[in-house]
Amino acid sequence: MSQVMQGLKYSKEHEWVKLDGQRATVGITDFAQAELGDIVFVELPAVGQQLKANTTFGTVESVKTVSDLFAPLSGKVVEVNERLQDSPELVNSSPYEDGWMVVLEVEDTAGMNELLDAQAYEAHIAE
């Protein structure tokens, strides 16, 4: 059974968001990492890049398969998890903690209202 963390918001694309003021930390969910299998590479944007909600911001490669990542919110990338460059398996082992991907500085947090809470996301992945 996939772990869904209370207090986070989720996109239907299986990304999670933790908002702290105007800073939104983004990663992929336990459900997504389990579906992908062993992750061998995560391609992330550069710090300073402006992301637009629902556009691709990177890729995640599991064994010989590549999938796209879509930004759940618009914002400027202010931090990237550099550890994933050498240790992409952190996304598998710790998707909500050590496997975080980017931190966005979000000007307008209204986009959070379009995301799912934990209960709704649990229902979504149970469908």
Binding site: K12, E13, H14, E15, I28, A32, E35, L36, V40, F41, E43, N54, T56, T59, V60, E61, S62, V63, K64, T65, V66, S67, D68, L69, F70, Q85
Partner: protein
């Protein structure tokens, strides 16, 4: 009909278009055509089996993982500065030799709401190729071969050496058909008609040394069609041999797939 040996036919229940479409004079554009077809398939175009020749210049196909980071980018630049043609592909894995003795098969399919694994798409890709090789008289099977270029479980091996490399890309959101970006699936095979594997080994290993990565290609892990089936290419030049092999596989697919219940919607060149 013989559907039992191709259970994966359900993945292309509405048929596929089989086409030979390439531009070997522009290696990167040639590679990127898969993405263009993928976007079209994601927008409703029928699925495609694209057959295509590599760019004519000798070189390598690298994944985005290969060129990630400063050392990866520096290794890429150094390799290009040495005169090798290097393309960056969308599928995963490691370096693959390119040149006028290599051709490719790309199955480009829409994402499906069914629960389907990468294994199923790999089987969809490799079974017809193995059947074609068997018709040519070769015993072929899938399997990993440590030390081979771009190693993976769905290598196609002949004489215990690698003849065909395979990889996939699942583009679109992680939610698949439930995504606003449902995307497409690319299942790709690279087939070596004729390659100087010792030269390729040196290029590949030099690239990874420069990139600071451990992957190394070992000698005697690869085989080409010309090495294993020299008689069928007698009197034909290198470019002609690759085109002959590609044509042979294309003709085979157009006959073999309908026998397994897969409608071929068109077979343009």
């Amino acid at each position: 009909m013989n559907r039992r040996d191709f259970e994966e036919a359900y993945l292309v229940a509405d048929g596929v278009e089989v086409l030979w479409m390439d531009n070997p004079n522009d290696a990167q554009e040639n590679t990127d055509m898969d993405e263009q077809y993928g976007k079209a398939v994601a927008s409703g175009r029928p699925p495609v089996v694209r057959l295509w020749r590599s760019g004519f210049a000798d070189g390598l196909s690298l994944s985005r993982r290969d060129v990630a980071g400063e050392r990866g980018m520096a290794a890429l630049e150094q390799t290009r500065n040495e005169g090798l043609e290097v393309v960056i592909r969308q599928t995963g894995g490691t370096a693959v030799p390119q040149g006028e003795g290599v051709f490719h098969v790309s199955w480009i399919l829409p994402r499906t709401s069914q629960t389907v694994t990468t294994d199923a798409y790999f089987r969809l890709l490799v079974k017809p190729i193995i059947a074609w090789l068997r018709e040519l008289g070769l015993e072929a099977a899938t399997g990993a071969l440590p030390g081979s270029y771009c190693d993976g479980t769905y290598n196609i091996l002949v004489e215990n050496r690698k003849l065909v490399g395979t990889a996939q890309a699942w583009r679109g959101g992680l939610a698949g058909t439930g995504s606003r970006h449902p995307g497409y699936i690319l299942a790709h095979a690279s087939i070596t008609t004729e390659v100087d594997f010792e030269a390729a080994r040196l290029w590949i290993n030099r690239f990874y040394e420069r990139a600071g990565k451990d992957y190394r290609m070992e000698a005697d892990t690869s085989i080409s069609l010309v090495q294993t089936l020299p008689s069928i290419f007698a009197g034909v030049g290198k470019k002609g041999r690759n085109e002959a092999a590609l044509s042979s596989l294309k003709d085979f697919l157009c006959a073999w797939l309908p026998q397994r219940g897969v409608k071929v919607l068109g077979d343009s060149v």
